[in-house]
Amino acid sequence: MSIDCKHIRNFSIIAHIDHGKSTLADRLLEWTGTVEKRQLKEQMLDDMELERQRGITIKARAVRMEYTHKGEVYELNLIDTPGHVDFHYEVSRSLACCEGAVLLVDAFQGVEAQTVANAYSAINLNLAIVPVINKVDLVHARVDEVLAEMEQSLGLDAADVVLASAKTGIGIDELLAGIVERIPPPAGDPNAVLRAMIFDSHYDSYRGAITYVRLVDGTVRKGQKIRFLETNSTHDVLELGQFVPQRRACEELFAGQVGYLVCNIKDVKQVHIGDTVTIPGDNGATAMPGYKPPQRMVYCGLYPSEGENFEELRDALEKLAINDPSFEYAPESSEALGFGFRCGFLGLLHMEIIQQRLEKEADLDLVQTAPNVTYQIKKTTGEVIEITNPQDVPDTGQIDEFRQPIVRTNFLTPVEHIGPIMQLCTDRRGVYLKTEYLSPTRAMLTFDLPLAEVIYDLHDKLKSVTRGYGTMDYELIGYFPADLARLDILVGSKKVDALSIICDRRDADRRGRSIVKKLRGEIDRHMFEIALQAAIGTKVIARETISAMRKNVTAKCYGGDISRKKKLWAKQKEGKKRMKSIGSVDIPQKAFMAVLDTGADRS
């Protein structure tokens, strides 16, 4: 079926987590007849099991719907976006494929940090915004206040806001009409040179990489050759089509449309989100703006508990990387942990997801080191190196400048919690920028904070000081010099490389003390005394001792007792799984995370 550009609308739904984005998407699929109600799995678009479990959208998806408005048939392409801050870049590329965005706000929760962040991303890309307040049927709905917040914080006109309930269907017709009427059709010339943007991909074990594209100019046909600018690789288009929501093949896609390409690509690493697709040869289109290589912000070491499982771990990582080009891994070795991998992630959530998949799909016992952000070091030679592992920090004498990533962080909170948030941020060496009032009761605070201080526990702390009402979002603004140092941990006078961290020199005493204290709690008493030390270079700054086990001998061992006691003794061995022996000290997996203890209860 052919349709002209004027009858196409490309849009995303943007919202804070839990404001009902997936439910709204389901309702649109049902309302437009794309999916019959009885086939509608709840939250159709979140089709990965993990996403379902966690109620979050990790990967972007695209669905084509048909909608008849005033007697004319429209093609609506809904491009779903991930809802977590780890995936900022992916969100921005998905939005870049749209002419409009449905901005969804919960009628009770109101405007939150990700609402603001996502709305500004959309506004900056010149998208038409269709604002919606969801869950208006809730008894606690506070529609008037939320309207005021939207006007105040986002500069939207309250008269434009659609009042809806994705759950019951209130306002869905009005919303669909709004999408058609307020979002402009795509511009673009179907007869120009092919120019399309990749906004997502996934791996299909039969077809290879499935590449998600938005055509900006030109037309792509089955059987033609195409070229990816970033990798400069040429491929045959074996199949192309749209998601309805399953893949449905067609003969061609033209400017303005959204769809997929199957090109027999065996390695998803060739498919870069944000890359431009055009024709082979010298007459191709130029690259579209905004492309960035995946930026891994968080690294950690993953080691098999049992050294002999190294190959199995490698296979499992390889399998995961095929599906997820933003995840990266490289072999490394640690004196303490043996052979393993340094793994890079977009953020902490991304790391957790990968780790869960590994344990679930590969059934491997892993020891994970504490995550760290990436740092930059400008050496005295002028060379700038990137540090993804604290072990790679060169001697102080070779360091000219030690830089850390800084993020601009917005907090949205009821005004009564401003004080505690200020405290939280100043404790973490944040730089205060501004406070804006959304309404007499809600405010937005902006701080520049070291990313390292943000990712570990700031979100949890924020929730606790605001009784769950505060939300936050952040964006990397760059690497800035700071007075940083590597803090080493010695267990029984042996340096355990996997326990080293990078921290602000002014925090080193506190961090060191809190880490060795935490370790003392995590490591069981042994047959001998164990000294725990924190040191910068050769200077010891904190020390704790785990005294030797004093008495551990069971008494009665007569007759039938022996069978029972044997189980008891064997259990002491069972407990040693998931531990790493360093020297003769057994260190449990949990202890490797002890270094995350920031000593944050900084009283």
Partner: protein, 396 residues
């Protein structure tokens, strides 16, 4: 009523040199006047009405043994065997004598509550061939006895020991340390008092907080406190020093004896020689497999009397597993293990099974090794539970 007598003029029917035939037997008597708060043993308290059925069941269980067994050691434990009283003990001996015969010079022990022991009861024991009296004294301090829920007095203990010794029996006294509220000084006093009693054997037990006991639930509720690990260690070391100073040599984790008075029955367990067992919760061992009867006295009786198998848990070992177990129970003894003896008895080389572990223990000061004999040091003994995982291996 004729008293049953276990030691007999009858000739040993089975060959004493056949090492697969047990020469030791344990009989469990599951009756007590009341259950002490720390006790999780197989017993019923205040159900003397079951005693007659118990004898019937015991007789039936003994019938499992095809030919009478000639025993070097017999141990009648509980529960409180002395709770059966003079008549009950005569009856017990009569039930046992069909299948259990004491060899000349055999050791036969009866466990007793000090308040049950009278000169008459001791006389019945002597008639029955018993040579040893094991007293559940626990302490000679009224406060500790009360804390432990015991219903006898320090004087009961003194009288009982005297009665036993006077009748020519070997007397063993159980002592509990780390009881709730017990101080180091109280332990010191107890040890002095126990030595003064003049018995030939002492067993020392640290109070353990077993799941399901009243003490365990009081501990959970915070109404009782466990002794600190350091205090427990001091008490235990004090016990070792005082008892050895008083002429009782430590020969196993919890056992101390004057020369020639070790409990030969318990040494059977630690030598991994076979033994027989009768009664609820009693175990038997043929060198490879250890079978434990159902722990509930009522279930045990019911099963036996209805012709069913009373066995509960069954611990079946490969020869290697049995050899590994032998290392552990062997090293818990002060004599330790001698390489040649170990190899002859188990069929395995000690070093093949545990050479690496032994080497590291010696390095860490937990064991000594003169090339032949391996023994735990005091230091090693104190933390020995943490050593065994390395020996028992994956199969354990």
């Amino acid at each position: 009523m004729p008293a049953g007598r276990l030691a007999g003029a009858r000739p040993a029917i089975v060959n004493a040199m056949d090492s697969a035939v047990p020469r030791a037997a344990y009989v469990h008597v599951p009756f007590c006047r009341h259950r002490c708060g720390y006790c999780d043993f197989s017993l019923v308290a205040g159900r003397d009405d079951l005693i007659e059925r118990y004898f019937q069941a015991l007789g039936r269980e003994l019938a499992r043994v095809p030919e009478p067994l000639c025993l070097d050691t017999l141990f009648v434990g509980g529960g409180t065997p002395s709770h059966l009283g003079v008549a009950g003990l005569r009856r017990l001996a009569a039930v046992l004598q069909d299948k259990l015969i004491l060899a000349a010079g055999a050791e036969a022990t009866l466990e007793a509550n000090p308040s049950d022991v009278t000169p008459e009861l001791v006389e019945v024991l002597r008639e029955g061939g018993f040579s040893r009296l094991s007293l559940g004294a626990q302490s000679l301090a009224p406060a500790t006895l009360a804390a432990l829920d015991r219903n006898h007095t320090p004087d009961d203990v003194r009288r009982a020991v005297e009665a036993g010794l006077q009748a020519g029996l070997t007397v063993s006294v159980d002592v509990m340390i780390a009881a709730p509220g017990q101080s180091l000084a109280a332990v010191e006093q107890d040890l002095e008092d126990v030595l003064a009693l003049g018995g030939q054997h002492v067993s020392v037990y640290c109070l353990t907080w077993e799941k399901g006991t009243r003490f365990a639930s009081l501990l959970r509720q915070g109404l009782l406190q466990e002794a600190e690990e350091d205090l427990e260690r001091e008490m235990y070391e004090l016990a070792i020093e005082r008892l050895e100073g008083g002429g009782l040599e430590q020969y196993e984790v919890s056992n101390f004896a004057r020369p020639g008075h070790r409990c030969r029955h318990n040494e059977t367990y630690w030598d991994c020689r076979p033994w027989e067992g009768f009664g609820p919760g009693a175990a038997r061992f043929d060198g490879r497999t250890r079978i434990t009867n159902h722990r509930s006295p009522v279930t045990w009786m019911h099963r036996i009397l209805s012709g069913a198998d009373p066995s509960g848990e069954c611990d079946q070992m490969t020869p290697e597993e049995a050899a590994r177990e032998r290392i552990v129970v062997g090293l818990r003894r002060r004599d330790g293990l001698v390489r040649g003896e170990f190899a002859a008895a188990s069929g395995f080389s000690l070093d093949a099974l545990a050479g690496g572990a032994i080497l590291s223990w010696v390095e860490q000061g937990f064991a000594s090794d003169d090339g032949q004999r391996v023994r735990l040091t005091r230091r090693g003994l104190l933390v020995s539970d943490g050593l065994w995982a390395a020996v028992l291996g994956q199969g354990a």
